[in-house]
Symmetry: C2
Amino acid sequence: MDLKSKIREIPDWPKPGVNFKDIAPLLQDAAAFKQAIDELAAPYIGKQVDVVVAIDARGFLLATAVAYKLDAGVALVRKKGKLPWKTINREYALEYGSNIIEMHEDAVKPGQKVLMVDDVLATGGTMEAAVWMVRQLGGEIIGASFLIGLSFLNGKEKLSGVEVKELVIY
Amino acid sequence: MDLKSKIREIPDWPKPGVNFKDIAPLLQDAAAFKQAIDELAAPYIGKQVDVVVAIDARGFLLATAVAYKLDAGVALVRKKGKLPWKTINREYALEYGSNIIEMHEDAVKPGQKVLMVDDVLATGGTMEAAVWMVRQLGGEIIGASFLIGLSFLNGKEKLSGVEVKELVIY
């Protein structure tokens, strides 16, 4: 199945000039959802992934099913203030202003093999900050997989040294 | 494995008097995570679930893996303003004030068999509102499954006519 055919484009959302990629129709379609998870997981079967990093909030939708498929655990990256225990954090620049994301200090243990998963690779700012935190905790990143890549935003440039995979490219 | 042993209690979070149940250690542990997903899915294997409803944001972490296990799709319940397409919504009361959650109008099709999944059944307000929306869209709810039930808050009372399952009860 062509997964792109299950992604709904929403013009001018969340603001004028942005053509939002809505993955809800893909998630609702059992066959498309299964195919997406299987394709995200496939390159890492047999690679002994210990934890899959899930990024708040849409990343949660894909990362946990990929972790289940790979018999791995799940580590959370959340927006500031959402995690209840001891955290590390990382600030990153947005088009206007900045954002802070956090992980629990024990979310990844030193030496663990880590797969990063998110829905969209846009400018790469969020994933770059998440990669920084995982390395700070001693994790070994074996790849970063995205359902969608927005190639015109050059997000891969921010993720040097990380094997990046994208299932659907715009 | 006793799943409760993998849940971390955080006193006085997010506010004094609340003993928060942190599921992060359970998610991080591959064996505990797999057991939780398998136990959430088990009663519904062979019941032809069409979609699993995932509730923003921690519900996303469990619902999608359960959907994957059941070969079902995923339908999203999100906080107001997060969904990009045409929505229905439902307001529900909180201890102080109220909250509004939304679903896309096409998230569930009439006659589909729907399993609701969330992390915690507390007062039941969120799930009651989500159940209302799924029925509004014509879905047939075959159950609501929670990783954790806070029995002292009597959330089941709000979910009359829904088969409720909880894996870990406080």
